[in-house]
Amino acid sequence: MSTSTGEGERGPMTTSTIGHDGEGSPMTTSTVGTRAHGSAMLTDVRHSVRLARLELTVLGRNQTALFTVLFLPLLFGWMFSALAGEAVIAGLPAEVFVLTGLPGLLPLFAVFVNLVNTFTARREELVLRRLRGGQVSAVGILGGAALGGLAVQLVQTGLVLAWLRAVDGPVPANIPLLLVAAVLGAAVFTLLAAACSGLTRTTEHAQVTVLPVLFVVMIGAPLFTPLSAQPPQLAVPAEFVPATPIVEITRTAILGADFIGGAGGKLTVAGQWLAALPSLGVLAAWLLIAAIAAKVLFRWDPKRG
Protein backbone atom coordinates (compact mmCIF):
# COMPACT_ATOMS: atom_id res chain seq x y z
CA MET A 1 0.00 0.00 0.00
CA SER A 2 2.52 2.58 1.02
CA THR A 3 4.75 3.08 -1.92
CA SER A 4 8.43 3.10 -1.44
CA THR A 5 9.83 6.56 -1.34
CA GLY A 6 12.86 7.55 -3.33
CA GLU A 7 16.47 6.93 -2.46
CA GLY A 8 17.37 8.34 0.90
CA GLU A 9 14.21 10.35 1.00
CA ARG A 10 12.24 10.61 4.19
CA GLY A 11 8.79 9.69 3.11
CA PRO A 12 5.41 9.43 4.78
CA MET A 13 4.38 5.90 5.50
CA THR A 14 0.92 4.46 5.74
CA THR A 15 -0.73 1.26 6.86
CA SER A 16 2.12 -0.18 8.74
CA THR A 17 1.59 -3.18 10.86
CA ILE A 18 4.33 -3.65 13.32
CA GLY A 19 5.35 -0.98 15.75
CA HIS A 20 2.88 1.45 14.32
CA ASP A 21 -0.24 2.70 16.00
CA GLY A 22 -2.41 1.32 13.25
CA GLU A 23 -4.21 4.59 12.68
CA GLY A 24 -2.11 5.55 9.72
CA SER A 25 -0.41 8.42 11.48
CA PRO A 26 2.93 9.06 9.82
CA MET A 27 5.94 7.92 11.70
CA THR A 28 9.22 9.59 11.02
CA THR A 29 12.05 7.40 9.98
CA SER A 30 14.93 7.83 12.33
CA THR A 31 17.76 9.81 10.80
CA VAL A 32 19.91 6.80 11.42
CA GLY A 33 18.00 4.60 9.01
CA THR A 34 17.96 7.28 6.38
CA ARG A 35 21.63 7.97 6.61
CA ALA A 36 22.46 4.28 6.34
CA HIS A 37 20.33 4.15 3.23
CA GLY A 38 22.07 7.11 1.65
CA SER A 39 25.54 5.71 2.05
CA ALA A 40 24.75 2.07 1.41
CA MET A 41 27.97 1.49 -0.49
CA LEU A 42 30.16 2.90 2.25
CA THR A 43 28.35 0.72 4.77
CA ASP A 44 28.95 -2.34 2.60
CA VAL A 45 32.65 -1.53 2.45
CA ARG A 46 32.88 -1.06 6.24
CA HIS A 47 31.01 -4.32 6.79
CA SER A 48 33.25 -6.12 4.32
CA VAL A 49 36.37 -4.96 6.12
CA ARG A 50 34.96 -6.12 9.46
CA LEU A 51 33.94 -9.51 8.09
CA ALA A 52 37.28 -9.93 6.33
CA ARG A 53 39.04 -9.34 9.65
CA LEU A 54 36.75 -11.87 11.30
CA GLU A 55 37.57 -14.46 8.64
CA LEU A 56 41.31 -13.85 8.97
CA THR A 57 41.07 -14.28 12.76
CA VAL A 58 39.23 -17.56 12.33
CA LEU A 59 41.63 -18.73 9.60
CA GLY A 60 44.51 -18.04 11.98
CA ARG A 61 42.92 -20.40 14.51
CA ASN A 62 42.34 -23.26 12.09
CA GLN A 63 45.62 -25.04 11.46
CA THR A 64 44.37 -27.36 8.71
CA ALA A 65 42.94 -24.50 6.71
CA LEU A 66 46.00 -22.39 7.38
CA PHE A 67 48.20 -25.11 5.91
CA THR A 68 46.10 -25.61 2.75
CA VAL A 69 45.59 -21.95 2.16
CA LEU A 70 48.92 -20.48 3.13
CA PHE A 71 51.65 -23.08 2.80
CA LEU A 72 50.44 -25.52 0.17
CA PRO A 73 50.84 -23.15 -2.82
CA LEU A 74 54.26 -22.02 -1.60
CA LEU A 75 55.19 -25.68 -1.19
CA PHE A 76 54.11 -26.30 -4.78
CA GLY A 77 56.29 -23.43 -5.95
CA TRP A 78 59.28 -24.79 -4.10
CA MET A 79 58.65 -28.34 -5.36
CA PHE A 80 58.34 -27.32 -8.99
CA SER A 81 61.38 -25.10 -9.00
CA ALA A 82 63.40 -27.76 -7.19
CA LEU A 83 62.28 -30.41 -9.73
CA ALA A 84 63.17 -28.19 -12.65
CA GLY A 85 66.67 -27.73 -11.24
CA GLU A 86 69.03 -25.98 -13.63
CA ALA A 87 66.67 -26.21 -16.62
CA VAL A 88 65.85 -23.21 -18.74
CA ILE A 89 62.26 -22.40 -19.72
CA ALA A 90 61.53 -19.82 -22.44
CA GLY A 91 64.97 -18.35 -22.01
CA LEU A 92 64.66 -18.01 -18.23
CA PRO A 93 65.99 -20.05 -15.34
CA ALA A 94 63.23 -22.54 -14.46
CA GLU A 95 62.92 -21.19 -10.92
CA VAL A 96 62.32 -17.65 -12.19
CA PHE A 97 59.78 -18.88 -14.76
CA VAL A 98 57.81 -20.83 -12.14
CA LEU A 99 57.95 -18.13 -9.47
CA THR A 100 56.84 -15.35 -11.85
CA GLY A 101 53.75 -17.41 -12.71
CA LEU A 102 53.03 -18.66 -9.20
CA PRO A 103 51.20 -15.52 -7.99
CA GLY A 104 48.64 -16.25 -10.70
CA LEU A 105 47.83 -19.60 -9.08
CA LEU A 106 47.45 -18.16 -5.58
CA PRO A 107 43.76 -17.17 -5.98
CA LEU A 108 43.08 -20.89 -6.38
CA PHE A 109 44.16 -21.57 -2.80
CA ALA A 110 43.90 -18.31 -0.90
CA VAL A 111 40.53 -17.51 -2.42
CA PHE A 112 38.87 -20.54 -3.99
CA VAL A 113 39.68 -23.39 -1.58
CA ASN A 114 39.62 -21.03 1.39
CA LEU A 115 36.22 -19.57 0.54
CA VAL A 116 34.48 -22.82 -0.43
CA ASN A 117 35.34 -23.85 3.13
CA THR A 118 34.31 -20.56 4.65
CA PHE A 119 31.03 -20.18 2.78
CA THR A 120 30.06 -23.75 3.60
CA ALA A 121 31.04 -23.50 7.26
CA ARG A 122 29.26 -20.18 7.74
CA ARG A 123 26.15 -21.43 6.00
CA GLU A 124 25.97 -24.64 8.02
CA GLU A 125 26.61 -22.69 11.25
CA LEU A 126 23.72 -20.42 10.18
CA VAL A 127 26.04 -17.42 10.32
CA LEU A 128 25.02 -16.41 6.80
CA ARG A 129 21.42 -16.47 7.92
CA ARG A 130 22.21 -14.33 10.93
CA LEU A 131 24.19 -11.86 8.86
CA ARG A 132 21.44 -11.58 6.29
CA GLY A 133 18.82 -11.07 8.98
CA GLY A 134 21.07 -8.45 10.56
CA GLN A 135 22.73 -5.35 9.24
CA VAL A 136 24.83 -6.77 6.42
CA SER A 137 23.74 -6.91 2.77
CA ALA A 138 24.56 -9.73 0.37
CA VAL A 139 27.20 -7.50 -1.22
CA GLY A 140 28.77 -6.86 2.17
CA ILE A 141 28.92 -10.57 2.97
CA LEU A 142 30.43 -11.65 -0.37
CA GLY A 143 32.71 -8.62 -0.32
CA GLY A 144 33.97 -9.50 3.15
CA ALA A 145 34.81 -13.03 2.06
CA ALA A 146 36.51 -11.80 -1.10
CA LEU A 147 38.51 -9.21 0.82
CA GLY A 148 39.72 -11.77 3.35
CA GLY A 149 40.83 -14.09 0.55
CA LEU A 150 42.47 -11.24 -1.35
CA ALA A 151 44.42 -10.21 1.75
CA VAL A 152 45.90 -13.70 2.09
CA GLN A 153 46.62 -13.82 -1.64
CA LEU A 154 48.43 -10.46 -1.58
CA VAL A 155 50.56 -11.44 1.42
CA GLN A 156 51.55 -14.63 -0.39
CA THR A 157 52.29 -12.67 -3.57
CA GLY A 158 54.58 -10.44 -1.50
CA LEU A 159 56.33 -13.56 -0.19
CA VAL A 160 56.81 -14.94 -3.72
CA LEU A 161 58.19 -11.60 -4.93
CA ALA A 162 60.65 -11.54 -2.01
CA TRP A 163 61.61 -15.11 -2.85
CA LEU A 164 62.23 -14.06 -6.47
CA ARG A 165 64.57 -11.31 -5.26
CA ALA A 166 66.36 -13.81 -3.06
CA VAL A 167 67.23 -15.97 -6.09
CA ASP A 168 68.38 -12.91 -8.07
CA GLY A 169 65.15 -12.78 -10.04
CA PRO A 170 63.59 -9.59 -11.40
CA VAL A 171 61.85 -6.73 -9.59
CA PRO A 172 58.24 -6.45 -10.84
CA ALA A 173 58.12 -4.23 -13.93
CA ASN A 174 54.43 -3.30 -13.83
CA ILE A 175 52.89 -3.35 -10.35
CA PRO A 176 49.51 -1.84 -11.38
CA LEU A 177 49.01 -4.60 -13.95
CA LEU A 178 50.04 -7.17 -11.35
CA LEU A 179 47.42 -5.79 -8.96
CA VAL A 180 44.68 -5.70 -11.59
CA ALA A 181 45.32 -9.37 -12.35
CA ALA A 182 45.35 -10.20 -8.62
CA VAL A 183 42.06 -8.40 -7.90
CA LEU A 184 40.27 -9.78 -10.97
CA GLY A 185 41.57 -13.25 -10.12
CA ALA A 186 40.30 -12.96 -6.55
CA ALA A 187 36.90 -11.78 -7.84
CA VAL A 188 36.52 -14.68 -10.29
CA PHE A 189 37.53 -17.28 -7.72
CA THR A 190 35.33 -15.75 -5.00
CA LEU A 191 32.31 -16.19 -7.24
CA LEU A 192 33.40 -19.69 -8.27
CA ALA A 193 33.81 -20.52 -4.57
CA ALA A 194 30.30 -19.22 -3.84
CA ALA A 195 28.94 -21.42 -6.62
CA CYS A 196 30.95 -24.46 -5.51
CA SER A 197 29.88 -24.06 -1.87
CA GLY A 198 26.28 -24.35 -3.07
CA LEU A 199 27.11 -27.94 -4.08
CA THR A 200 28.95 -28.64 -0.85
CA ARG A 201 27.15 -30.03 2.18
CA THR A 202 29.84 -29.88 4.85
CA THR A 203 33.36 -28.57 5.19
CA GLU A 204 34.63 -32.17 4.96
CA HIS A 205 32.71 -32.54 1.74
CA ALA A 206 34.45 -29.38 0.49
CA GLN A 207 37.70 -31.32 0.19
CA VAL A 208 36.04 -33.29 -2.60
CA THR A 209 33.99 -30.62 -4.32
CA VAL A 210 36.98 -28.32 -4.89
CA LEU A 211 38.95 -31.07 -6.66
CA PRO A 212 37.57 -30.73 -10.22
CA VAL A 213 38.39 -27.03 -10.34
CA LEU A 214 41.71 -27.64 -8.61
CA PHE A 215 42.73 -30.30 -11.17
CA VAL A 216 41.65 -28.40 -14.25
CA VAL A 217 43.36 -25.23 -13.13
CA MET A 218 46.58 -26.87 -11.94
CA ILE A 219 46.93 -28.85 -15.16
CA GLY A 220 45.77 -26.12 -17.49
CA ALA A 221 47.66 -23.14 -16.08
CA PRO A 222 51.01 -22.54 -17.77
CA LEU A 223 53.07 -22.68 -14.62
CA PHE A 224 56.10 -24.48 -16.03
CA THR A 225 55.66 -24.30 -19.79
CA PRO A 226 54.62 -21.29 -21.83
CA LEU A 227 51.51 -22.03 -23.88
CA SER A 228 53.48 -21.00 -26.96
CA ALA A 229 55.64 -24.09 -26.46
CA GLN A 230 52.66 -26.45 -26.30
CA PRO A 231 50.81 -28.09 -29.18
CA PRO A 232 47.69 -26.11 -30.14
CA GLN A 233 45.29 -28.89 -29.09
CA LEU A 234 46.53 -28.32 -25.50
CA ALA A 235 47.32 -24.63 -25.68
CA VAL A 236 43.92 -23.47 -26.97
CA PRO A 237 41.78 -25.07 -24.23
CA ALA A 238 44.39 -24.12 -21.62
CA GLU A 239 43.94 -20.50 -22.68
CA PHE A 240 40.39 -20.63 -21.31
CA VAL A 241 41.16 -22.11 -17.90
CA PRO A 242 40.38 -19.30 -15.46
CA ALA A 243 43.84 -19.16 -13.90
CA THR A 244 45.70 -19.05 -17.23
CA PRO A 245 45.09 -15.36 -17.94
CA ILE A 246 46.09 -14.51 -14.37
CA VAL A 247 49.32 -16.52 -14.60
CA GLU A 248 50.18 -15.00 -17.97
CA ILE A 249 49.41 -11.42 -17.00
CA THR A 250 51.31 -11.85 -13.74
CA ARG A 251 54.40 -13.21 -15.49
CA THR A 252 54.25 -10.45 -18.08
CA ALA A 253 53.78 -7.79 -15.41
CA ILE A 254 56.72 -9.02 -13.35
CA LEU A 255 59.15 -9.60 -16.24
CA GLY A 256 58.00 -6.76 -18.51
CA ALA A 257 58.07 -9.22 -21.39
CA ASP A 258 55.37 -10.88 -23.47
CA PHE A 259 54.37 -14.19 -21.93
CA ILE A 260 50.75 -13.91 -23.01
CA GLY A 261 50.84 -16.44 -25.77
CA GLY A 262 54.24 -14.93 -26.64
CA ALA A 263 57.69 -16.29 -26.00
CA GLY A 264 59.17 -13.53 -23.89
CA GLY A 265 59.84 -10.59 -26.22
CA LYS A 266 60.52 -7.37 -24.28
CA LEU A 267 57.54 -4.99 -24.01
CA THR A 268 57.08 -1.33 -23.06
CA VAL A 269 54.64 -0.56 -20.21
CA ALA A 270 51.93 0.38 -22.75
CA GLY A 271 52.80 -2.77 -24.68
CA GLN A 272 52.31 -4.86 -21.53
CA TRP A 273 48.79 -3.48 -21.00
CA LEU A 274 47.97 -3.98 -24.66
CA ALA A 275 49.24 -7.55 -24.62
CA ALA A 276 47.19 -8.22 -21.49
CA LEU A 277 43.92 -7.10 -23.10
CA PRO A 278 42.81 -10.49 -24.51
CA SER A 279 43.58 -12.14 -21.16
CA LEU A 280 41.64 -9.44 -19.33
CA GLY A 281 38.80 -10.21 -21.74
CA VAL A 282 38.92 -13.90 -20.80
CA LEU A 283 38.86 -12.91 -17.12
CA ALA A 284 35.88 -10.62 -17.69
CA ALA A 285 34.07 -13.51 -19.39
CA TRP A 286 34.91 -15.77 -16.42
CA LEU A 287 33.65 -13.09 -14.07
CA LEU A 288 30.31 -13.18 -15.84
CA ILE A 289 30.14 -17.00 -15.94
CA ALA A 290 31.15 -17.28 -12.29
CA ALA A 291 28.60 -14.64 -11.29
CA ILE A 292 25.82 -16.53 -13.05
CA ALA A 293 26.95 -19.83 -11.50
CA ALA A 294 27.04 -18.22 -8.06
CA LYS A 295 23.60 -16.70 -8.57
CA VAL A 296 22.18 -20.12 -9.47
CA LEU A 297 24.04 -22.33 -7.00
CA PHE A 298 24.85 -20.26 -3.92
CA ARG A 299 22.64 -20.93 -0.89
CA TRP A 300 22.19 -18.81 2.23
CA ASP A 301 20.46 -21.54 4.23
CA PRO A 302 21.39 -25.15 4.83
CA LYS A 303 19.27 -27.69 3.02
CA ARG A 304 16.68 -29.09 5.36
CA GLY A 305 15.13 -32.50 5.64
Binding site: M13, S30, V32, T34, A36, R61, E125, V127, G133, G134
Partner: protein, 305 residues
Protein backbone atom coordinates in the same frame (compact mmCIF):
# COMPACT_ATOMS: atom_id res chain seq x y z
CA UNK B 1 0.47 -7.94 8.04
CA UNK B 2 -2.52 -8.66 5.93
CA UNK B 3 -3.32 -11.85 4.09
CA UNK B 4 0.20 -13.26 4.07
CA UNK B 5 0.58 -16.45 2.13
CA UNK B 6 3.82 -18.31 1.78
CA UNK B 7 4.61 -21.58 0.10
CA UNK B 8 7.57 -23.84 -0.52
CA UNK B 9 6.97 -25.64 -3.75
CA UNK B 10 3.56 -27.24 -3.42
CA UNK B 11 3.43 -26.94 0.34
CA UNK B 12 1.67 -23.84 1.52
CA UNK B 13 3.25 -23.10 4.90
CA UNK B 14 1.31 -19.93 5.62
CA UNK B 15 -2.22 -19.63 4.29
CA UNK B 16 -3.41 -16.09 4.63
CA UNK B 17 -2.74 -14.69 8.07
CA UNK B 18 -3.24 -11.14 9.31
CA UNK B 19 -2.26 -9.48 12.53
CA UNK B 20 -1.14 -6.13 13.84
CA UNK B 21 1.42 -5.48 16.53
CA UNK B 22 1.06 -2.10 18.23
CA UNK B 23 4.10 -0.06 19.17
CA UNK B 24 5.55 -0.87 22.57
CA UNK B 25 3.59 -4.06 23.07
CA UNK B 26 4.68 -7.64 23.26
CA UNK B 27 2.93 -9.87 20.79
CA UNK B 28 3.27 -13.64 21.04
CA UNK B 29 2.77 -15.98 18.13
CA UNK B 30 1.95 -19.42 19.48
CA UNK B 31 1.72 -22.64 17.59
CA UNK B 32 2.74 -26.24 17.28
CA UNK B 33 5.90 -27.16 15.44
CA UNK B 34 5.32 -26.67 11.74
CA UNK B 35 2.48 -24.21 12.30
CA UNK B 36 4.20 -21.62 10.11
CA UNK B 37 5.60 -19.40 12.86
CA UNK B 38 9.18 -19.40 11.64
CA UNK B 39 8.13 -18.89 8.03
CA UNK B 40 6.11 -15.88 9.16
CA UNK B 41 9.13 -14.55 11.07
CA UNK B 42 11.36 -15.06 8.02
CA UNK B 43 9.05 -12.82 6.00
CA UNK B 44 8.89 -10.18 8.73
CA UNK B 45 12.67 -10.23 9.06
CA UNK B 46 12.97 -9.73 5.31
CA UNK B 47 14.75 -13.03 4.73
CA UNK B 48 12.25 -13.90 2.02
CA UNK B 49 9.71 -11.83 0.14
CA UNK B 50 6.00 -12.31 0.82
CA UNK B 51 4.46 -14.51 -1.85
CA UNK B 52 1.15 -12.75 -1.41
CA UNK B 53 -0.31 -10.14 0.92
CA UNK B 54 0.83 -6.87 2.41
CA UNK B 55 3.50 -6.88 5.08
CA UNK B 56 4.71 -3.70 6.80
CA UNK B 57 7.25 -3.49 9.56
CA UNK B 58 7.68 -0.07 11.16
CA UNK B 59 5.87 1.13 8.06
CA UNK B 60 8.42 -0.37 5.69
CA UNK B 61 8.46 -3.32 3.34
CA UNK B 62 10.72 -5.76 5.18
CA UNK B 63 12.18 -7.25 2.03
CA UNK B 64 12.54 -4.34 -0.38
CA UNK B 65 13.40 -1.72 2.24
CA UNK B 66 15.69 -3.88 4.29
CA UNK B 67 18.47 -1.36 4.46
CA UNK B 68 16.29 1.24 6.10
CA UNK B 69 14.54 -1.19 8.38
CA UNK B 70 17.34 -3.36 9.70
CA UNK B 71 19.21 -0.84 11.84
CA UNK B 72 16.04 -0.44 13.89
CA UNK B 73 15.33 -4.13 14.33
CA UNK B 74 16.90 -6.85 16.48
CA UNK B 75 16.54 -10.51 15.61
CA UNK B 76 17.01 -13.58 17.77
CA UNK B 77 17.19 -16.71 15.67
CA UNK B 78 15.82 -20.07 16.66
CA UNK B 79 19.28 -21.58 16.76
CA UNK B 80 22.92 -21.11 15.90
CA UNK B 81 24.40 -18.43 13.72
CA UNK B 82 27.70 -18.16 15.54
CA UNK B 83 31.27 -18.63 14.43
CA UNK B 84 32.38 -21.41 16.78
CA UNK B 85 36.04 -20.37 16.80
CA UNK B 86 35.37 -16.85 18.09
CA UNK B 87 35.09 -16.09 21.79
CA UNK B 88 31.88 -14.69 23.25
CA UNK B 89 33.42 -11.23 23.64
CA UNK B 90 34.76 -11.26 20.06
CA UNK B 91 31.35 -12.26 18.75
CA UNK B 92 29.69 -9.38 20.57
CA UNK B 93 32.42 -7.01 19.35
CA UNK B 94 32.01 -8.01 15.70
CA UNK B 95 28.23 -7.75 15.79
CA UNK B 96 28.44 -4.48 17.70
CA UNK B 97 30.76 -3.17 15.00
CA UNK B 98 28.39 -4.20 12.23
CA UNK B 99 25.63 -2.29 14.04
CA UNK B 100 27.85 0.72 14.64
CA UNK B 101 28.51 0.85 10.89
CA UNK B 102 24.83 1.52 10.28
CA UNK B 103 24.70 4.15 12.99
CA UNK B 104 23.53 2.03 15.95
CA UNK B 105 26.52 1.55 18.23
CA UNK B 106 26.08 -0.95 21.04
CA UNK B 107 24.72 0.39 24.28
CA UNK B 108 25.93 -0.81 27.67
CA UNK B 109 27.38 -4.13 28.71
CA UNK B 110 25.11 -6.56 27.02
CA UNK B 111 26.93 -9.65 28.34
CA UNK B 112 26.22 -8.43 31.86
CA UNK B 113 22.55 -8.00 30.96
CA UNK B 114 22.14 -11.57 29.75
CA UNK B 115 24.36 -13.06 32.45
CA UNK B 116 27.24 -14.14 30.25
CA UNK B 117 29.91 -11.77 31.56
CA UNK B 118 31.79 -14.68 33.11
CA UNK B 119 32.01 -16.43 29.74
CA UNK B 120 33.47 -13.53 27.75
CA UNK B 121 36.70 -15.36 26.95
CA UNK B 122 35.09 -18.72 26.18
CA UNK B 123 34.92 -19.96 22.60
CA UNK B 124 31.33 -19.98 21.36
CA UNK B 125 31.74 -23.64 20.39
CA UNK B 126 32.12 -24.54 24.07
CA UNK B 127 28.93 -22.87 25.30
CA UNK B 128 25.94 -24.95 26.40
CA UNK B 129 22.67 -24.73 24.51
CA UNK B 130 21.16 -22.35 27.03
CA UNK B 131 24.25 -20.14 27.02
CA UNK B 132 24.09 -19.92 23.25
CA UNK B 133 20.50 -18.75 23.54
CA UNK B 134 21.67 -16.03 25.92
CA UNK B 135 24.38 -14.96 23.51
CA UNK B 136 21.76 -14.89 20.78
CA UNK B 137 19.61 -12.64 22.94
CA UNK B 138 22.65 -10.46 23.63
CA UNK B 139 23.23 -9.95 19.91
CA UNK B 140 19.55 -9.22 19.30
CA UNK B 141 19.37 -6.48 21.93
CA UNK B 142 22.91 -5.17 21.43
CA UNK B 143 22.00 -1.80 20.02
CA UNK B 144 18.63 -1.21 21.62
CA UNK B 145 16.37 -2.00 18.68
CA UNK B 146 12.96 -0.38 18.37
CA UNK B 147 11.54 -3.72 17.36
CA UNK B 148 12.71 -7.11 18.50
CA UNK B 149 11.96 -10.47 16.88
CA UNK B 150 12.41 -13.39 19.24
CA UNK B 151 12.04 -16.84 17.71
CA UNK B 152 11.53 -19.32 20.56
CA UNK B 153 13.89 -17.45 22.86
CA UNK B 154 13.90 -19.85 25.80
CA UNK B 155 13.95 -23.22 24.08
CA UNK B 156 16.61 -25.39 25.70
CA UNK B 157 17.05 -23.16 28.75
CA UNK B 158 16.84 -24.36 32.32
CA UNK B 159 14.07 -22.78 34.45
CA UNK B 160 16.41 -20.24 36.03
CA UNK B 161 17.81 -19.07 32.71
CA UNK B 162 14.27 -18.88 31.39
CA UNK B 163 13.25 -16.58 34.22
CA UNK B 164 16.33 -14.40 33.64
CA UNK B 165 15.48 -14.16 29.97
CA UNK B 166 11.92 -13.20 30.76
CA UNK B 167 13.27 -10.44 33.00
CA UNK B 168 15.48 -9.14 30.18
CA UNK B 169 12.52 -9.17 27.81
CA UNK B 170 10.29 -7.43 30.35
CA UNK B 171 12.97 -4.80 30.89
CA UNK B 172 13.21 -4.08 27.17
CA UNK B 173 9.49 -3.91 26.84
CA UNK B 174 9.31 -1.50 29.78
CA UNK B 175 11.87 0.66 27.96
CA UNK B 176 9.50 0.89 24.99
CA UNK B 177 10.77 -1.85 22.69
CA UNK B 178 8.12 -3.55 20.60
CA UNK B 179 8.53 -7.31 20.77
CA UNK B 180 7.22 -10.07 18.52
CA UNK B 181 7.84 -13.44 20.09
CA UNK B 182 7.18 -16.96 18.92
CA UNK B 183 7.03 -19.73 21.46
CA UNK B 184 5.47 -23.04 22.16
CA UNK B 185 5.65 -22.51 25.89
CA UNK B 186 2.20 -21.35 26.87
CA UNK B 187 3.38 -20.09 30.22
CA UNK B 188 5.83 -17.80 28.45
CA UNK B 189 3.10 -16.22 26.39
CA UNK B 190 0.79 -15.97 29.36
CA UNK B 191 3.38 -14.15 31.44
CA UNK B 192 4.82 -11.83 28.82
CA UNK B 193 2.34 -11.11 26.08
CA UNK B 194 -0.03 -8.17 25.73
CA UNK B 195 -1.60 -9.75 22.67
CA UNK B 196 -1.23 -13.19 21.23
CA UNK B 197 -2.29 -15.27 18.27
CA UNK B 198 -2.44 -19.03 18.02
CA UNK B 199 -1.35 -20.44 14.69
CA UNK B 200 -2.00 -23.92 13.44
CA UNK B 201 -1.32 -25.34 10.00
CA UNK B 202 -0.64 -22.00 8.43
CA UNK B 203 -3.58 -20.00 9.73
CA UNK B 204 -4.31 -17.92 12.81
CA UNK B 205 -7.14 -19.56 14.74
CA UNK B 206 -7.45 -17.36 17.81
CA UNK B 207 -6.12 -13.95 18.69
CA UNK B 208 -6.59 -11.20 21.23
CA UNK B 209 -5.26 -10.16 24.61
CA UNK B 210 -4.28 -12.95 26.92
CA UNK B 211 -7.46 -12.40 28.96
CA UNK B 212 -9.65 -12.37 25.87
CA UNK B 213 -8.17 -15.57 24.57
CA UNK B 214 -8.33 -17.28 27.94
CA UNK B 215 -11.95 -16.15 28.37
CA UNK B 216 -12.78 -18.16 25.29
CA UNK B 217 -11.63 -21.31 27.00
CA UNK B 218 -14.59 -21.06 29.37
CA UNK B 219 -14.70 -21.59 33.15
CA UNK B 220 -15.18 -25.09 34.43
CA UNK B 221 -17.30 -26.26 37.30
CA UNK B 222 -16.57 -29.85 38.25
CA UNK B 223 -17.99 -32.05 41.03
CA UNK B 224 -19.00 -35.61 41.81
CA UNK B 225 -22.36 -36.95 42.93
CA UNK B 226 -22.82 -40.33 44.64
CA UNK B 227 -26.20 -40.62 42.95
CA UNK B 228 -27.91 -38.66 40.22
CA UNK B 229 -31.37 -37.36 41.15
CA UNK B 230 -34.20 -37.67 38.70
CA UNK B 231 -33.94 -35.09 35.92
CA UNK B 232 -30.19 -34.79 36.39
CA UNK B 233 -28.28 -31.59 37.12
CA UNK B 234 -29.79 -28.35 35.80
CA UNK B 235 -28.47 -26.33 32.93
CA UNK B 236 -26.52 -23.31 34.11
CA UNK B 237 -26.42 -20.13 32.01
CA UNK B 238 -27.74 -22.17 29.10
CA UNK B 239 -24.94 -24.70 29.51
CA UNK B 240 -25.88 -28.32 30.01
CA UNK B 241 -23.72 -30.58 32.11
CA UNK B 242 -21.49 -33.30 30.79
CA UNK B 243 -21.95 -36.39 32.91
CA UNK B 244 -19.58 -39.28 33.17
CA UNK B 245 -21.07 -42.21 35.12
CA UNK B 246 -18.95 -44.63 37.02
CA UNK B 247 -19.42 -47.31 39.65
CA UNK B 248 -19.71 -44.99 42.62
CA UNK B 249 -21.74 -42.19 41.08
CA UNK B 250 -21.20 -39.60 38.38
CA UNK B 251 -18.68 -36.89 37.52
CA UNK B 252 -20.34 -33.69 36.37
CA UNK B 253 -18.60 -30.98 34.35
CA UNK B 254 -19.90 -27.64 33.12
CA UNK B 255 -17.86 -25.55 30.69
CA UNK B 256 -19.19 -22.01 30.86
CA UNK B 257 -18.56 -19.90 27.81
CA UNK B 258 -20.39 -16.83 26.56
CA UNK B 259 -21.60 -13.99 28.81
CA UNK B 260 -19.01 -11.86 30.56
CA UNK B 261 -16.13 -13.94 31.86
CA UNK B 262 -15.78 -11.88 35.02
CA UNK B 263 -19.07 -12.91 36.68
CA UNK B 264 -20.13 -16.09 34.98
CA UNK B 265 -18.78 -18.63 37.43
CA UNK B 266 -20.33 -16.67 40.26
CA UNK B 267 -23.64 -16.42 38.43
CA UNK B 268 -23.71 -20.15 37.71
CA UNK B 269 -22.90 -21.21 41.22
CA UNK B 270 -25.98 -19.77 42.90
CA UNK B 271 -28.57 -21.85 40.95
CA UNK B 272 -26.32 -24.88 41.23
CA UNK B 273 -26.15 -24.69 45.02
CA UNK B 274 -29.87 -23.98 45.20
CA UNK B 275 -30.47 -27.11 43.16
CA UNK B 276 -28.20 -29.13 45.43
CA UNK B 277 -30.01 -27.88 48.55
CA UNK B 278 -33.35 -28.68 47.01
CA UNK B 279 -32.28 -32.29 46.42
CA UNK B 280 -30.33 -32.52 49.70
CA UNK B 281 -27.16 -33.30 47.85
CA UNK B 282 -23.54 -32.55 48.63
CA UNK B 283 -21.39 -31.67 45.66
CA UNK B 284 -18.27 -33.72 46.28
CA UNK B 285 -14.91 -32.24 45.34
CA UNK B 286 -16.53 -29.10 43.98
CA UNK B 287 -14.01 -27.22 41.92
CA UNK B 288 -14.29 -24.01 39.91
CA UNK B 289 -11.47 -23.50 37.51
CA UNK B 290 -10.79 -20.54 35.27
CA UNK B 291 -10.03 -21.51 31.68
CA UNK B 292 -6.35 -21.57 30.71
CA UNK B 293 -4.42 -20.79 27.62
CA UNK B 294 -3.64 -24.47 27.42
CA UNK B 295 -7.35 -25.28 27.12
CA UNK B 296 -7.63 -22.90 24.16
CA UNK B 297 -4.46 -24.13 22.58
CA UNK B 298 -5.44 -27.79 22.81
CA UNK B 299 -8.88 -26.97 21.45
CA UNK B 300 -7.36 -25.17 18.44
CA UNK B 301 -5.00 -28.01 17.73
CA UNK B 302 -7.70 -30.63 18.40
CA UNK B 303 -10.36 -28.93 16.24
CA UNK B 304 -8.12 -28.86 13.26
CA UNK B 305 -7.37 -32.55 13.46
Amino acid sequence: MDGLRQAYGDFEAVRGISFTVRPGELFALLGTNGAGKTTTMDVLEGLRPARQGDVRVLGLDPHRQRRRLRPRVGVMLQEGGFVGDLTVAETVRVWGGLSADVGRPPDGDVLETVGLAGKARTRVRQLSGGQKRRLDLALAVLSRPELLFLDEPTTGMDPEARRDTWDVIKGLRAAGTTVLLTTHYLEEAERLADHLAIMHEGTVHVRGTVDEVVAEAGDRIVFRLPRLPRGGPPSLLDTTAEIARSGDGAAVTYTLTGTSPAGRAHAALRPLLAWADEHRLTLHGLEIRKGTLEDVFLRVVGDAR
